[in-house]
Amino acid sequence: MPGYFARLTPRYRRSWALVAAYLAFLVLISLIDFGGNTAGQTLFRGLMLSMLIFLVASGLSLIFGLLDVLNFAQGAFVLVGAYIGYATYQSVELSSTYSFLAAVGAAVVSVGLLGAVIETGLIRPLYARPVFQIVLTFGLGAILLDLVQRIYGPQPKQPLAPPELFRGTFYLFGQSLSIYRLFIIGLGLVIMVAVGLLLNRTRLGIIIRAGVQDAEMVQALGINVRRVFTFVFVLGAVLAGLAGIVLVPYQGATLDLGNQFLILAIVVVVIGGMGSYEGTAVASFIVGLTRAVAEQMSLKHFDAPVLAETSILILMIVVLLVQPSGLFGREES
């Protein structure tokens, strides 16, 4: 890690400084505006949101980086994961912890399979026509949304109780915080580190990172890149599905879940820089915390969450104006 910071280019160093300053500003402003207690709750919620967004955005970023496909169906993967997980969690009659595990398994496996079918059957023939891939995934998103609505009905699903293991609250700095949210944060961090290790320490990871720069050259070295493509697409889908199922005990399952997370993930990827893993991780924190703080703020001052929706989009526009290739993206144009 110290090696990493020592080798940073000036631009990356500036980006890190900007990020640190912005996060400090967020913490400060929430402390001043909401007072200690609410600020703690808000930031905690923001952290949880960050991790959920990260799960969706990291897949989007990896897929875009390696396959050059802007996967508009990523939101639909969240949706499918949430609904299949919901159905499994509700219907499996084991102890709540085990049925939750079963639900996670069902969501992850089914979304993974879906991803594999989509990549091999539909996206692969289109590698020569990138614009059509965008349109294709867009259409797939619409189909999946419609299928989910038909199968599970249009009414939103109420949140289910979290598994016994993660029920209840704990106290930190005099605040009562939900254990389940802590679980989500922990899970997100574990996955963040695991994927980071995968990318940096394994041969597969090295191949993926090389492929992000030039997949053709990797192929010319004798590596079957298509198989790696499929792996990455499935990995991205699985992470999104995982985000979907862990959302169920927290906020249930609704049909607009997919689009909501898709937009958030897109903003993260743009802010962090396309195809940059560290950028995606950092930007997830920025977006998650910004959203939570803005939501709290506009609830307090305007009585309506209007700021929450627009704040991150404005953030994205500002980043695009200041640093068009994102905080940690490669310079281009």
Binding site: F64, L70, G121, L122, P125, L126, R129, V131, F132, I134, V135, L136, F138, G139, L140, G141, A142, I143, L145, D146, L147, R150, I151, Y152, G153, N259, I263, I266, V267, V269, V270, M274, S298, F302, D303, A304, V306, E309, T310, L313, I314, M316, I317, L320, L321, P324, S325, E332, S333
Partner: protein, 523 residues
């Protein structure tokens, strides 16, 4: 045949000016007779429907087939205009935008918010805001200052004229301001992202449109926008602009205005694409670096295209709002729907073809309206052939073929002993359609199970299936018909002509060989 005969006749005209005139005239007619015929058909459409449905074109009470279909046709044409404007961006400019709905919806909001809220004191602040915007855009787009100053002056002058010093804003002035705003928004979003890779542009426009959509929906701004309910404008527009027949509005006149607008949009796009500027834009789409190397500022040409498409979308949106029966500007006009719709229509019709979006819009939108209320059950036979259960089997086989298409194709090719794989496209096409059918049937079964009714008696409405159908069309068109309807037709036609020319050339060469010896004598 006729063409050639006519041209031959023209060539025989002695007087050179007369010949030139006649040739031009003949070309005009030959190139446009189809469009002219279509225009006449549209013009007479209310009467045709009136005859067919035995209703009146302008009845006392606003009911009957003709009145209904006038409204449907007008809205379809406006959606076609929207799709054509999208095609200018996507098809001819190679710019993929996911925020076209912003331009479609912004016009109505601007006009009617201005009409309700404008006070003469706001004139100068608005002008100041405009000046600031021009400076920002100019700085971002690095436009030469002379050109920028000129544009700013023209814009400011127009705004000054459009915003009255006393009294309120009229509808038409509102329209003008709306167009100016749409120009400014296209310039802004273009200036920010057009230099970046296409994906950034797609995402930026998506986000920008979402901001406006969320703002329009938000309860906080209810006083201004009417939030989810929309902004009522029934009392703001004169009767002349009101196509709803109940209150002195003149539907037929509005219908004609719409048809003329449609024709103008078509002609404007055709003119634009065939103009020198349009050729550069197509060149930039095909190879931006090369176009830049020749000396064209690709960025400015793309900006211009964005403005052009944005203005057309805004105007279509304005008319579309007027045609709405609720007489409200509501947030759905800004929603992703109106981006997806033109994108889909462009793809189906043929990316980068002039008539494609229109063909697709007419087919899809009219079809949707026509079939909307149709219902069917599992026991009714599809096209009188199969029951849905049988269709599921067929679809299953098709899916199987699709999955193993490569092996099958190879097998067929080997069996025929040909190097190329014959009929591969047909195999894929059939299999893809089958896979789609399978998905539809699965969805239908799922829906019936969800409703906990007996499959055979559950009644489905076509309108309920529309979203699924639309998504399916996206995938199918992209996979199987990448050039769209008109694009595929054009290619087929072009290839046919090529083949014929090759055949004629070969015949001529053969003829020349045999004729050679005698030819020498004649010379």
């Amino acid at each position: 045949m006729i063409e050639r005969a006519v041209y031959r006749r023209v060539e025989r005209i002695e007087n050179p000016t007369g010949r030139k005139l006649a040739a031009g005239l003949v070309r005009l007619v030959l190139e446009n007779w189809f469009y002219a015929l279509f225009f006449v058909l549209l013009w007479r459409f209310p009467y045709l429907v009136a005859d067919l449905t035995d209703s009146e074109v302008m009845p006392q009470r606003p009911t009957g087939g003709s009145v209904f279909w006038q409204s449907v046709m007008a809205q379809t044409l406006l959606i076609a205009c929207l799709a054509m404007s999208y095609n200018v961006l996507f098809g001819f400019g190679g710019i993929i935008s996911f925020g076209h709905a912003l331009f479609f919806g912004i016009g109505g909001y601007t006009t009617f918010i201005l009409m309700r809220e404008y006070e003469p004191g706001a004139r100068w602040p608005v002008l100041a805001g405009f000046a600031a915007l021009v400076v920002v855009i100019g700085a971002l787009a690095r436009i030469p200052w002379r050109r920028l100053a000129l544009a700013a002056l023209v814009g400011a002058a127009l705004l000054y004229l459009l915003l009255p010093g006393s009294g309120g804003v009229s509808v038409y002035q509102g329209f003008g301001v709306a167009v100016l705003l749409s120009v400014a928004l296209s310039l802004l979003s273009g200036a920010v992202t057009l230099r970046l890779r296409g994906v950034y542009f797609a995402m930026f426009t998506l986000a920008l449109a979402e901001v406006f959509w969320v703002l329009a929906k938000s309860g906080t701004l209810r006083a201004l926008t009417g939030a989810e309910d929309g902004l009522p404008f029934r009392d703001l527009i004169p009767d002349a602009l009101n196509p709803t027949p109940t209150a002195g509005g003149n539907r037929l006149a509005m219908y004609r205005v719409t048809v003329i607008f449609f024709a103008l949009v078509f002609l404007a796009i055709r003119r634009y694409i065939n103009s020198p500027v349009g050729r550069v834009i197509v060149a930039v789409r095909d190879n931006e670096q090369r176009a830049r190397a020749i000396g064209y500022n690709a960025f400015h040409y793309k900006l211009l295209t964005m403005v052009f498409a944005g203005v057309l979308a805004t105007l279509s949106g304005l008319l579309f709002v007027l045609w709405g029966s609720a007489k409200r500007v509501d947030p759905t006009l800004l929603s992703l729907n109106y981006t997806v719709e033109p994108l889909l229509l462009t793809l189906i019709g043929g990316v980068g073809t002039l008539t494609g979006p229109v063909v697709a819009a007419l087919g899809l939108e009219l079809g949707r309206t026509y079939l909307r209320e149709e219902t069917f059950t599992f026991s009714t036979r599809l096209f009188g052939l199969l029951s849905l259960w049988q269709a599921l089997w067929v679809a299953g086989f098709a899916l199987f073929f699709y999955v193993f298409r490569r092996g099958l194709r190879r097998g067929v090719a080997r069996a025929l002993g040909a190097g190329r794989d014959p009929g591969s496209r047909a195999v894929t096409l059939a299999a893809g359609a089958g896979a789609a059918a399978a998905l539809i049937v699965v969805a239908l079964v799922a829906q019936a199970i969800y409703a906990e009714t007996d499959l055979d008696t559950y009644v489905y409405k076509v309108a309920d299936l529309w979203q699924l159908f639309q998504g399916m069309l996206f995938v199918l068109v992209v996979m199987l018909l990448p050039h769209g309807i008109v694009g595929t037709w054009n290619r087929w036609w072009f290839n046919r002509r090529l083949r014929r020319m090759a055949r004629q050339a070969a015949a001529r060469a053969a003829g020349a060989e045999t004729a050679e010896p005698s030819g020498g004598h004649e010379a």
